[in-house]
């Protein structure tokens, strides 16, 4: 394992401190327990809080700021944060209109946020993101994972919250965006959890992992390496199979890098995916390409498609000012 670190035990604190220092115009860091808030507390809005294991940067701390999150709780690497963090973050940012948690659907995150929600003295609700179509959905199982589509949910809900909308409306829009969003990912290499010091899975030069999440967990299947168009075709097929969009639907296309895949390749994937979606009669009216939801140092990428409507498009386009997403302000 070769990484820019001092001691494995200090990675998180040092990295969070660096983030806080580099973006001190946008965020503040609380150290015990760990959570980030906006530098200026927002008033008269639902407090939007997310969080999850670290290692997915810029998710979630990079999305704190005007038009998106009020606070984020970073856990240890790939480990859900704990209820005390969420409670303290909620205490810090609650502005009288309730708290909305945006939680990626993993057993650990769900349970920790659930316990926080049970203890929280404020009105609250939770949007569970579950956009990963690599996993079959079912009410009897843990169900689908939340992956890169979470960024879209956070942006859109964050925008609505900024208008003063109430908790129920924010929750409803979050659920709607999640239900109209589908993602699937592919890994070319494993990632290395710093404390473990070795790659989570072994994979050779001729193979890829299809249907991976964002934790270095193995995907649905190991396959022979193929060319980009063939890989994209499989990912897009699974996404469209899930979304079943009608001809002429307007979509947002996100090509998300897992961290170690260069922009040159991500744009090549965009080119391939966009052509395919257009061939299916879809209109790509919004795009995002880059490392928005990562998996430590993994090489790979995911494709996310969101079916837009006027409401979602409007809230996607609205001003946002965070470390990782910024426009119109």
């Amino acid at each position: 394992m070769k990484k820019f670190i001092n001691n494995v035990d200090d990675i998180l604190t040092e990295s969070l401190s660096g983030f806080a220092a580099a973006h001190s115009d946008i965020v503040s860091l609380n150290l015990e327990p760990h959570f980030f808030t906006r530098r200026e507390k927002a008033e008269n809005k639902v407090a939007i809080i997310s969080g999850g294991g670290s290692g997915h940067e810029p998710l979630h701390s990079g999305y704190i700021g005007y038009g998106m999150l009020d606070a984020a709780c970073p856990g240890h690497v790939f480990t859900s944060p704990s209820p005390d963090q969420m409670l303290a973050a909620a205490e810090a940012v609650h502005a009288g209109k309730g708290v909305l948690f945006i939680v990626k659907n993993y057993a650990g995150d769900v349970m920790n946020f659930e316990m926080a929600a049970e203890m929280l003295p404020f009105e609250n609700a939770t949007v569970l993101t579950s956009d990963d179509v690599a996993v079959e959905n079912s009410t009897y199982t843990t169900g689908r994972r939340g992956v890169a589509g979470t960024v879209i949910v956070e942006k859109v809900v964050g925008s609505l919250a900024e208008t003063g909308a109430d908790l129920a409306a924010c929750k409803a829009l979050g659920d709607k965006v999640n239900s109209r969003t589908a993602s699937m990912g592919v890994a070319l290499t494993s990632c290395t959890v710093p404390a473990a010091g070795r790659p989570t899975f072994d994979i050779d030069e001729t193979e890829l992992e299809m249907g991976v999440g964002i934790h270095g967990e193995p995907g649905r299947r190991r396959e022979k390496m193929r060319n980009a168009d063939a890989i994209v075709a499989d990912l897009v097929a699974a996404i469209l199979e899930d979304l079943k969009p009608t001809q002429g639907s307007e979509v947002l296309l996100l090509i998300n890098g897992f961290a170690a895949t260069p922009l040159m390749e991500l744009y090549l994937l965009y080119n391939s995916a966009a052509k395919l979606l257009q061939a299916h009669g879809l209109v790509i009216s919004r795009s995002l390409v880059g490392n928005y939801t990562t998996a430590l140092d993994m090489a790979g990428a995911s494709i996310t498609v969101t079916l837009l409507d006027d409401e979602i498009r409007q809230h996607w386009d609205s001003p946002v000012h965070t470390a990782a997403l910024r426009w119109q302000c």
Binding site: H76, P83, Y106, T142, A196
Partner: protein, 212 residues
Amino acid sequence: MRTEFILAAITAVNDAVLNSEAELESLDREIGDGDHFINLKRGCATLLAMREELAPLPPADVLQRIGMKLLSTIGGASGPLIATFFMTMAKVEKAGDISTLAEISAAFTASVEAIKQRGKANAGEKTMLDTLIPVANTFSSLTAVNAEPTQVFDAIQQAAEQGMLSTKDMIATKGRAAFLGERAIGHIDPGARSSQIIIHTITELAKQHQAA
């Protein structure tokens, strides 16, 4: 339940967990995200550091503080589940001293029940519950017939081991391994294995205290 025993168990479990580093790490690497050992180690280290603070307290408070502390240190899926276990034990202990084996068994069963609620899971889903549920069953049926303590501990150890091993052939429906579908088959669940190690360690300790 005595505070002294709980403190001794903390030390013993910490040793046992540290000794299983390679195995636990690789189990969670295979069908999870590789952090289960690290999560447990962090929890154990925190409890170890709390021993002095816990020593003068009554068992109910000790269990409650352990639960709260683990809730804020372990994180992940195992954190809230293990914490829930201790918080339920604390609640039962608070309601009335747990001292006989039968009482401990009842408290254990209630705490496992609380894990099931929290995780919305049951036996056969390839989780720590596949170790814990058979243990709870064995524990209560043997204490119900007033079996010898050593007999109870041996039976618990066996049930834990069988339960843990049974996860190997399962498809997971809860936890991270559920994302793997059939690829999870052939791998023991890390939480089932760590629970079994912990139960084995505590029952061994109980046997020693019994003998002494």
